[in-house]
């Protein structure tokens, strides 16, 4: 069988990059010289990003539909790579000072990214599962990375067990769908599953699939791992979990549900709507009493998963466009917030919200970025989050008006706990008034995140156009 390897250049380049980083780390004489690995990883990731961008506009399938390359997958691949680059770049000094093993750290991050990219492009269940597991196993290692820290190990074990359970549920769901239809290919599935052919077996498989994916995107009621894991994991990894893992999981959620099971939309739309509503309610309400900023952001990310799920309900190009747009702006807001968390942790060795007192005096830039990121997540105009929520919720005003109300009310509730952090940062006097010095890389990352959040809020047209094109390509198979 002839395989066009050039279509796989992104994946091959990323795998080679991971192996080179690993080999370099092994051959370099001592741990102290390994510090260049981060810079090398960023350089390599930038090249891979360039290769991925050059695929924009390609529409092709490999191995009889096992692997799909279209603008939709390229869009999410760019998202995953941008997330990896910004996180590695913005937290390099944190990683140098707090994580002793650079070789394992950087190569595992690259392999996690590779898993995401395989998953995003997957055209059948087997490829999907391989990508998912590559990502999950890498993340288990990364979550438990601080070997001497009890919290990190606890988070690692929780993530290991719950990721295992969710994978089992997901696999069972996939096997039932295979049993009911006789195919593992998503495109074939779309032809086989039409309104008249739905068996109870298929519905059962669908429910298990929702549960399995629910774990991965940390939607309530499958969210319980998220707060503990987000709190215990090293902060860069928390950021990557919140952005990369979630975005990639949403990509395959869209691919399987809207792409493969569109014929069963009646069955899953209500289910997902209820899940979205629970996530929005629970995420926002439980975030209120949190005192640890990473836990607060974890609950807020559960709520964000609920918002993004709204885009799936209509299975329309507009909805998918909303998902993609929101995923991208959520990336900048989340990375902005977490890079600030990293920078503050380096100085204060604390993730408590109380330790952010007087941050506006100690580091005006960090405080400003934190404020803008949080307000964007809350959906305050003119920031990007408002535009994103607008795109998402306008798609469902016909059928799910109740969900729109829940979304609006809970967005207002979320402003309360987001602004509480702002209040601590701007009103309270700092206990230790020494300024927080941040490296140039941190400053650049923060400015990128801030500018992107502001610009995309005021002038969203370019990204909106791109996600429109990507959403269209998804429906042309």
């Amino acid at each position: 069988m002839h395989i066009d390897y050039s279509l796989l250049s992104t994946e091959i380049a990323l795998a080679i990059l991971g192996l080179i980083v690993f080999t370099l780390g092994l051959t370099l004489p001592s741990r102290s010289t390994n510090r260049g690995l981060g810079a090398f990883a960023i350089f390599g990731l930038l090249i891979v990003l360039g290769i991925t961008v050059s695929f924009w506009g390609t529409q092709a399938e490999l191995l009889a539909g096992m692997y799909l390359i279209d603008n939709f997958s390229v869009f999410f691949k760019i998202l995953a790579l941008v997330a990896a680059i910004l996180i590695v770049f913005g937290t390099m000094s944190y990683a140098n000072n707090n994580l002793s093993r650079q070789l394992e750290y950087y190569s595992t991050i690259i392999f996690a990214t590779l898993g995401m990219i395989i998953m995003i492009s997957a055209g059948d269940f087997i490829t999907l599962y391989i990508g998912l597991e590559l990502m999950t196993v890498s993340f288990i290692i990364l979550v438990a990375f601080r070997k001497t820290d009890g919290h990190s190990l606890e988070a690692g074990i929780k993530y290991l067990i719950l990721a295992g359970v969710s994978s089992a549920v997901l696999l069972y769901g996939l096997s039932l769908i295979y049993g009911a239809t006789g195919t593992v290919y998503i495109l074939e599935l779309a032809e086989l599953v039409t309104a008249g052919t739905i068996s109870p077996l298929l519905v059962f498989g669908l429910v298990l699939l929702v549960a399995g994916f629910g774990f991965k995107i940390s939607a309530a009621p499958f969210h319980m791992w998220a707060p503990d894991v987000y709190e215990g994991a090293p902060t860069p990894i928390t950021a990557y979990l919140a952005v990369g893992s979630k975005a990639a999981s949403f990509a395959i959620l869209v691919r399987v549900f809207v792409g493969g099971l569109a014929g069963m939309q009646e069955q899953w739309a209500t289910l997902l709507a209820v899940l979205a509503a629970i996530s929005i309610l629970l995420g926002n309400l439980v975030a209120i009493p949190q005192t640890n900023i990473k836990r607060m952001l974890a609950y807020s990310s559960i709520a964000q998963a609920g918002y993004i799920m709204v885009g799936l309900l209509t299975a329309s190009p507009e909805g998918i466009k909303g998902v993609m747009f929101y995923a991208f702006i959520y990336l900048f807001a989340t990375i902005g917030a977490f890079v600030v968390v990293c920078a503050v942790y380096e100085k204060t060795k604390s993730d408590e919200i109380a330790s952010y007192a007087g941050l506006s005096q100690r580091s005006p830039l960090a405080a400003a970025v934190m404020l803008i990121s949080l307000l964007s997540m809350a959906g305050i105009p003119p920031l990007a989050g408002f535009v994103g929520k607008f795109y998402l919720f306008t798609t469902i005003t016909d059928n799910f008006m109740w969900l729109v109300y829940i979304g609006l009310i809970m967005s207002m509730v979320s402003v309360y706990y987001y602004l509480r952090v702002a209040l601590v940062m701007y009103r309270d006097e700092p206990t230790d008034p020494t300024p927080i010095k941040m490296g140039a890389a941190v400053n650049v990352t923060l400015i990128i995140a801030m500018v992107a959040t502001l610009v995309l809020g005021i002038y969203p047209t370019p990204l909106s156009e791109l996600s429109n094109i990507a959403a269209q390509s998804f429906f042309t198979w």
Binding site: L19, F22, T23, L26
Partner: protein
């Protein structure tokens, strides 16, 4: 449904084999009870102590490294069987595969997994 009749007969006759065998031996076996009969391994090596002994957790690194060779054999064997059909491209792919595995071994070596401390 008639297609499944064969499966049913298979299951029943399979169960019958077990039941009849054990049943007959239960009926005709001579029953003697002594010390040797009650040992864990009858006619085997005499039991020295409990099997619940503690051993070093460093064994687990050996188990992990074993996986490297295990996976290697798992894929090398089918490749060797169809070596001629796969030709040069198969050889190159196999070298890439082994290279990645060797990286793992190299890493384990550097981390001191082979030193018994």
């Amino acid at each position: 449904m008639i297609n499944w009749l064969g499966v049913l007969i298979f299951l029943l006759s399979g169960a019958a084999f077990g039941v009849i065998g054990i049943g007959i031996s239960y009926l005709i076996q001579p029953r003697t009870k002594n010390r040797y009969k009650l040992e864990v391994y009858e006619s085997g090596i005499p039991v020295k102590a409990s099997a619940w002994v503690r051993f070093r957790n460093q064994y687990f690194t050996y188990a992990l490294i074993f996986v490297i060779f295990d996976v290697e054999i798992l894929y090398l064997y089918p490749w060797a069987v169809s070596f001629v059909e796969l030709g040069l491209s198969g050889l190159i792919k196999m070298f890439i595969f082994i290279f990645i595995l060797v990286l793992g071994l190299w890493y384990a070596w550097k981390e001191g997994a082979f030193e018994w401390r």
